[in-house]
Each structure stands twice: as C-alpha cells, then as structure tokens.
Symmetry: D2
Subunit: 86 residues, 4 copies
C-alpha cells in the first residue's frame, strides 16, 4: 500500500530514522569524549599521551611488553637508542 | 599525596576511566547501527545505498540538487551520460 | 656480525630506508594530485564533484546505473524527490 | 566549442585523466610499500613494529624522548609499570 516503485516506504523510513537516531547518540558520546579530553588538558594532562595510554590498556600486558621489547631492539639496531644489554 | 612522579594518579585514573566508559558506550551504539543495517539488509534493502541516503539527508536539499546538477553536467561532458537538454 | 640484540641491523636498516624512500615518493604524488585539483579549482571546476566523477568512473557503468536507480527509488519513497514514473 | 552544458569538456577530461594517472602511480607505490613489508616479514621482521619504527623516525628525537617519559609517568601512575625512580 505505501509502496513507492516497489519500495516498502514505511519500512525504509523506519530503518532510516532508527539509524539517524543512533548516529545522533553516537555523535553525542563522541562529543562527550572530546569534552573529557579537553577537561584533562585543562588539568595539565597531555591528551596525545592519554590516547596512547587508553590504546595500551586495551592490549594484553604480556603482549604489550613483548612488543615494547621488539621495538627497543629495532631502535637499538638502527642506532636510535642505547644498545640494550645482552 | 597519590602523586607518582609528579602525576596526580587519582585524577589521571578518573579521566582514563571516564574515557573508557564513554568509548564502550560509543562502541555499543556503533554495534547497534551495524545491527540495524543488517536487519535492513535482511529485509531486502541495499545497505550501501541506505548509507548514501543517510548522507544525502544531512545535506540541504537545495545544495544537494545543485551538486547533482553539476555532477550530471560533468558526466555529460565526459560522455558518461546522455547530454542534458539545454 | 652487525647483529644488535639478535636483529640483523643492516637488513633492518635497508628495509626501513626502502620504505621511507617509497613513502616520500607516495607523498610527492599525493601532493601532485592536490596540485591538479587546485589547478582545476582555479579553472572554475568544483573539486568535490570532480572527486565524485573520478570515483564513479571506477565503477562499471551498468552497476553505476543500477545503483543510481535504487538510490532514486529510496529517495522517492522518503519523499526526497518526485516519485519516479512506473 | 567542445562545451557541453557550459562545461569545457576538453579541459575537464584533461584534469580527470591527469588525476587518474597520478592515482594509478600512487597506487603502484602503495603496492610497492606493501611488498617491502611482506619481504621484511618473510625475513622475520615484525611489520607492525616496523611501522612504529618508521613513525618514530619522523619525530624529533628530543620530542620523542620527552613523550616517552610522559607516557612512562602516566603508565606508572596507573600501576601499569614499575614506578620510575624519582
């Protein structure tokens, strides 16, 4: 009945509106996150490093440490840090 | 008192936890959006086009129409569609 | 002999330098692309639409037309354009 | 003379072709970069860490060290590594 050119208009509209509502909520939360970073910055924290911390916390500690070790080996091999003790 | 190397540990922890909680909420909503698209797909809608529709709805209709007109002119000039009537 | 902590330093350095050289080349070309868009803009072309044209040219014409048809059906169903004739 | 609906068709086509040629070149280089990473992987290197090394080399060493120090302070404050000596 409410088909337009074979498209179930009501159903399509419902999907579109659900997605738009969810995208608004997502945007509101993204804005909240920005606000917390701004507040942290206002309290003297380095937001770039804060982002690194958040990313590191998602990793398994053992895996994180292993990757850090490999990174240091590579940097040492390239003369970018003191050669690690063997 | 709870400073570690000059960093206000409690304050830092509070910021980190607020950000992590918000990021979880954001991820949950992003998952909801994916679910709605999957449901739309299950109902026969083309999700790629649905995304285009959502993007187009954010634009001002007059601006959208103007851009569509320019696009058609360019495509016509390149022989990618029938020359528009003048 | 040039191993540092088990890492073949010369080999690592060679990989790093090859990647860095290629990334420089890639950046130079990306800059050239920006320059061409700027030149097109200076000649009165709409660069945003130009980008759409480039993207559309990558698609198969039949597929492109089919997607355009579906998009118009959806937009019509949502009252965002005149109902297409059936 | 070759205008189509007010668009200088030859000029538009020239811009489009220049952009497409440059984008092809850029893609070829991006593929080369992937190949070098694959070759490095085949020689036992960790490509994820290799990417980190490449990113770190773009930074000023003093700035890099300062950021590393702040990161370690934050991680220590969060109990994610041994408290640094003061």
């Amino acid at each position: 009945m409410s088909d337009t050119g074979g498209v179930a208009a009501n159903q399509l509209r419902a999907f579109v509106e659900r997605i738009e509502r969810l995208e608004e909520e997502k945007k509101a939360i993204a804005d909240d996150i920005k606000d917390v970073y701004a507040e942290a910055k206002g309290n003297g924290f380095d937001t770039k490093i804060l982002k690194q911390v958040i990313a590191l916390r998602k990793k398994d500690p053992a895996e994180r440490e292993e990757q850090e070790t490999i990174l240091e080996l590579y940097l040492a091999a390239l003369g970018m840090m003191p050669t690690p003790e063997e």
